[in-house]
Amino acid sequence: MKKFIAAGLALCMALAMVACGGNTSSSASQAAGGASVTNTDGAIVIKMGGIGPVTGANAVYGEAVKNGAQIAVDEINASDSTVKFEYNFQDDEGDAEKAINAYNNLKDWGMQVLMGTVTTTPCLAVISETEADNMFQITPSASSTDVIVPDNVFQVCFTDPNQGVSAADYIADNGLATKVAAIYDSSDAYSKGIYDAFAAEAEVKGLEIVCAEAFTSDNKTDFKTQLQKAQSEGADLVFLPIYYTEAALILTQADQLGYEPTFFGCDGMDGLLNVKNFDTNLAEGLMLMTPFDATSEDELTANFVKTYEEKFGGTPNQFAADAYDAVYAIRDACVQAGVTSDMSVSDLGDALKVAITEVTMDGLTGSNMTWKATGEVSKAPIVVKIENGAYKQL
């Protein structure tokens, strides 16, 4: 009996090894080919990978990016564009190690360009891989300046310092406040990055920061203490370079304390009004800088919002819009570079990183978007104020 089992196990192992061998050889041939195929109607098909968190704490951003990019891919593939896409999105759970696994999976699949990753920390891990492979990468939403250090990586969103500086300028130039408090997440590169730039610019502009209170990702439910300090220092504006989940708590707790300053947020604040069941009265008068306004009557935006609602339910946020623009940016760069079906990943990378600096694009998150060779995008931030539960552009 034992011998039978042993023989059976040996057979299983042998089969498994054969299966593995088969897999590696097929993916190797794909990688070696490394080139796009031309489909029946003559368009070049590029294999575009996407990486982002579709499960875990940051799932809300990853889902938005995945869906937003899907809409762009579907539109492009249904059009008569000369460049079309095959699209594969992998989960990284917001974790650096899992992002590398996702990247390797996508390479096995034959990825030629990368649209991702969604959040900064995994992105920092992935850029060293794409740099080594010289693969063209564009991140929709990882906003740290560190992610665009390699010359093959580009951004669709604003950099963190850029937002901090713009926020301080806007507050000072419009005389919104004299005494400013800030509450930020010191454990988050995004929040800290914006705050540091904001604080530096505020000093230049003569804004007085009376209280700067940090919190960490492990302690982000109770903000009463921070708010109380801001209140007793007499701050008339509270700057919140944080995500809307915590901001919703801050607004609720400020209301409970009877503290009514002006709140000013950055692009992470976008999504606040879509929190299910959130009392939007609390957000009345809140100002934020956002690249995307889903209620805008602009045709491109209106169509995108309509398609998104039909396909995925719910209103798209700026992450979805950033991803949509990222896909179009890749498409435009491919067309500009005149990519051919025999280019390797590295050749494609070389061609695209030049081509993207020559592209000017009207997207959902800005018109006349251009890219510098550093990877930074140039577009104007929009400041909106929440009035009657909706964005109003200022």
Binding site: A59, A214, D218, N219, T221, D222, T225, Q228, E246, G314
Partner: protein
Amino acid sequence: MDFISFLVNGISLGSIYAIIALGYTMVYGIAKMLNFAHGDIIMVGGYLIFTCMNSLSLPPVVCVLIAMAVCTLLGITIERVAYKPLRGAPSLAVLITAIGVSYFLQNMALLIWGSAPKSFNSVVSMEPLRLFDGSLVITGETVVTIVVSAVIMVGLWLFVNKTKIGRAMLAVSEDRGAAQLMGVNVNATISITFAVGSALAAVAGALMCSAYPILQPTTGAMPGIKAFVAAVFGGIGSIPGAMLGGILLGVIENLSKAYISTQLADAIVFAVLIIVLLVKPTGILGKKINVKV
């Protein structure tokens, strides 16, 4: 005035930790295991109340009762399916299973309710108290949290010390084998412990989500860990210890936020824990039990 306000907020936060810590400490005392899924039952309780209130528009009290009933069933089921088969296994195996259950619950919530954060309607409809001409504001949630946790504490103490089931729990926690020999149904007692702990978790979920009204699948994770610390702080296995540990933890956390540094608050809390454990390894109210060979 600020000081009183920081203190009251600390007690309120601490009361929530205390209710969660009661669940940890009861299960540890009786089943001798760390139920790391406890924090996630709070999250499930929160979501159940959210669903009842918004989809079925039931009154808040009914919603809390429904959540308590469902969480009780959930607690018993988890115990039956995941922990009971491992009764004789090494405690490490049970610990890993508990972590597995915790992830399972989080991902179930992700599938059912989605990843987008939801804003929780407070189950408390009390107006905030404005004392000293409005210079001290105490929210309705704070008052209710403190009162409810005091009531639970007294109720639980009476339940454990005065009822037959409670005394059975004490017997099992003291010596499982001897209790069984004396005719105590050990399995039923452990099930009841899980039931009570999970019902308390639902109450904690209601209070926590009312005070900090954002619901996500990971909502229960961090408070769960803090409450575990509170239970160890007060002396794990001891009911008054969990209560004391929870409140102290909340007060220390809030006062260090107020007077030392908002970002070092957690570090200070854990430093205090280490000092307490160095001086008194069984926690503040923990009893040292000599094991005789």
